[in-house]
Symmetry: C2
Subunit: 280 residues, 2 copies
């Protein structure tokens, strides 16, 4: 049966941190991996390392059982219409973008809803690119699996199996619910961390002046600016209310401090502390 | 000579994360440690573990060569007048508070300027208390040493020796310059992290929903609320402009997103990314 890991052929378009790590893990688990990257030397390196077979065009991906689009969201949205004709017969088309509603809508519009199931592995860090990719990145990583209303049950099952194969923990969720959740759990922390770093940069405070806590607080600021501009814009509907709430909290703490209102200030530090303890 | 580590007697008032860790390291390096904590069982535990001799009152600290005040800043400011009469003859009076100007002013007012030299070890984390204290906490930690205008050169040298003894890296700095710097490098990241956690708490987003990056960004939110309310208020003069700059940056990113102004948004992510790279 072609669904066995040993015989599964997976084409990965985009060999960055996520795509590259997925290629490494899948190859190691016995899947046949086809790889494409806009920067052709990347796929060639992957081939030389025995991880994948380099594709010369993303449209060649249609020959695989599974196609994984692993490029930033704006790129994925502009690539999908070009690829659509070649993807009608794959068993699963998925992606690894941080937002899930817009790409599902695009797949539906292109007549790919049956084979499309979105994915979002909560793995990776502020690094990016093939050189940052590595085996084991998805171990125990919560991975959201977002079916469309028309997704074939077998495509959904295959998406779950794909992620389990690399050690991840797939969890089904509605695309809109997903986008609302990650607006708070991931996109807001990214913007907050970038705003903190941007403010520090504006004040000419070098990063090496920070202690370990300050370095933690600004770690996400090292993320790829292009990728995160795209994610924030794609998820603006959900991210704006989160950002508004954060801005209000910063302003409230600022106001409390300028009034020397220790009770009001302490309430915020208390809420933060209680929240932190509950998640230990 | 009594300045040799082996014969140095150091009294530590407040046996939390910083005071407790200092006690452990100094004892291990052969200094005689006297310890006092408001919670009497703590000093008794330290004594039972062979780390220190428990003091029954903070005023007994005056018998030591060096007195280290290791309690939160408001507590230190209210304790100092009570202790002043017993501290006139110590060779060094120091503290470990995160702000340095207010306590130096207090020491000057109490006639302790000659023996007083403030300290601020950039060590520790969001944990607190004796149970979190440990050997090696100060290894390679930048430790600010803030003399008053009237500090005795021998007191300053002794402060530097004390920190070198526990592996820290003492650096002299003016108290006001110190407070300005840490407003940005430490206090602002604490408030930003707490504001983020407080906003997430307000939206009922549990901490375990966050990925590794979000957990990094909110780690400082787990810090002691009482301690940080005090630090923020004590350093309000320097912290307010930093907080204002941060608030403006958050608002600018929010505005850019609501206008779908990708260039403006990217500029902030770019500034954050460039700043992060420079500090690697």
């Amino acid at each position: 049966m072609s669904a066995e890991p040993q015989s599964l052929t997976v084409a990965i378009i985009g060999l960055g941190l996520i795509g590259g790590s997925l290629a490494r893990d899948l190859a190691q688990r016995g899947a046949k991996v086809l790889g494409y990257d806009r920067e052709t030397t990347i796929a060639q390196r992957g081939e030389r390392d025995g991880i994948l077979t380099a594709l010369s065009s993303p449209s060649d991906a249609g020959a695989a059982d599974v196609v994984v689009i692993a490029v930033p969201i704006e790129e994925a949205l502009s690539l999908l219409p070009q690829l659509a004709p070649s993807l009608k017969d794959v068993r699963l088309l998925t992606d690894v973008c941080s937002t899930k509603a817009s790409i599902a809508r695009a797949a539906e519009k292109l007549g790919l809803a049956r084979v499309f199931v979105g994915s979002h592995p909560m793995a990776g860090d502020h690094r990016s690119g093939w050189d940052a990719s590595r085996r084991g990145l998805f171990a125990n990583a919560r991975t959201y699996v977002c079916a469309t209303k028309a997704s074939d049950e077998r495509a959904i099952a295959l998406a779950e199996r794909l992620w389990k194969l690399v050690g991840a923990d797939p969890q089904r969720i509605d695309a809109t619910a997903h986008d609302r959740e990650v607006a708070w759990t991931s996109h807001l922390p990214h913007v907050a961390s970038a705003a903190l770093a941007s403010a520090l940069a504006g004040a000419s405070i070098a990063r090496d002046k920070l202690g370990p806590g300050g370095r933690d607080a600004t770690r996400l600021a090292g993320s790829d600016p292009e990728l995160w501009t795209g994610i924030a814009l794609d998820n603006a509907t959900e991210l704006l209310p989160a950002l508004e709430a954060f801005e209000q909290t910063v302003r409230a703490m600022h106001d409390a401090l300028s009034r020397e209102d220790s009770d009001a200030l302490r309430r915020h530090f208390d809420a933060a502390h209680t929240w932190s303890r509950a998640g230990q």
